[in-house]
Symmetry: C2
Subunit: 192 residues, 2 copies
């Protein structure tokens, strides 16, 4: 039997916030995220002290075709740069007409989204909550806790692809800032 | 903004094993499942006593196109007909080259699968376990508990469609039977 076409099952979350199975694992350290956070001086000051892992992704890969459903685990660690919470780079799908499902397993956070018409949205992450990112929306996970990982399970169509460039160039319209023990969604002054 | 293209989020599991949001809900009562269980005399005897809900599905609908991801909650109640555990009808996707992701939230059970080459497979359901049904595999959820609901979250490609006919005609190759407090996967003598 063709292995790629064999059913499988696995525990999504073992100890240490990783899945029992994955095909690929990558980490994004602070040093690889220059330009992501709004406070550049705070970024450089943090980086001078240490180069922590900001987030990591475990991928269960599938063929890159429409009927397949690649999936995996996203883990955003707790932290802030200046007063901006740790978050993922965020991306559009290369094929814009493709959605994504996120299901929160641990922690608390936000899915920050925006589309090419300039509309933005945010949906809360807490354990047991599903967030639907419709086709055409860039999306970024933000960890609102300073103590706990934000862990989400994601599923997307196999032909979606990833487009990080648009967000790297423009940023998101909104920033999510730590504000006196709570969080605030504010305009991004650098948004183009 | 077009509502269908607006992001949303919701608690997948509220009290009473239902999601906080759904577009459609259907129940399959014992009376609608004639021919599903192998022991026909036991089926008629059970039905003479009552017509319980065997399973129910809460659907979050999406446009039926490739980039969308309809999803929802499947709840298989505990019970047996003869010694065969309660289960779903099972189906292929009308578009065979489409996969499905199941994530178990509660209970214990099996995903019973088979493909058109005659190969079968079973994957365990327990809370926190994900089961990947690759393209081309018919799939049926079986509740192995006689006390507890089996609750799973499912996600599938928008263009998949459902084909119940092939399974209604042939059945599955394997049956899952209650056997002295445990479970056994046995050949289905009526399989064509």
């Amino acid at each position: 039997m063709n292995t790629v076409n064999t059913p499988f099952g696995f525990d999504v979350l073992t100890n240490e916030n990783r899945p029992a199975r994955h095909d690929n694992h990558y980490q994004r350290c602070l040093s690889s995220l220059r330009g992501l956070f709004s406070d550049e001086a705070a970024y450089e000051a943090e980086l001078a002290k240490a180069d922590p892992v900001v987030y990591e992704v475990y991928e269960i890969r599938r063929p890159e075709i429409a009927g397949e459903l690649p999936h995996g685990l996203s883990v955003v660690h707790p932290g802030q740069v200046g007063t901006e919470f740790y978050m993922t780079k965020g991306h559009y799908h290369a094929v814009r007409d493709t959605a994504e499902v996120y299901y929160c397993l641990k922690g608390r956070g936000l899915m920050l989204m925006e589309n090419e018409a300039g509309v933005w949205a945010a949906e809360e992450f807490r354990p047991g909550r599903l967030v639907y990112v419709p086709p055409g929306w860039a999306h970024r996970s933000v960890n609102l806790s300073l103590d706990e990982d934000l862990v989400t399970l994601f599923v997307y169509p196999g032909h979606a692809g990833h487009d990080y460039g648009a967000i790297e160039e423009r940023g998101f319209r909104k920033l999510v800032m730590h504000n006196d023990g709570s969080s605030a969604i504010v305009d991004n002054p650098a948004w183009k």
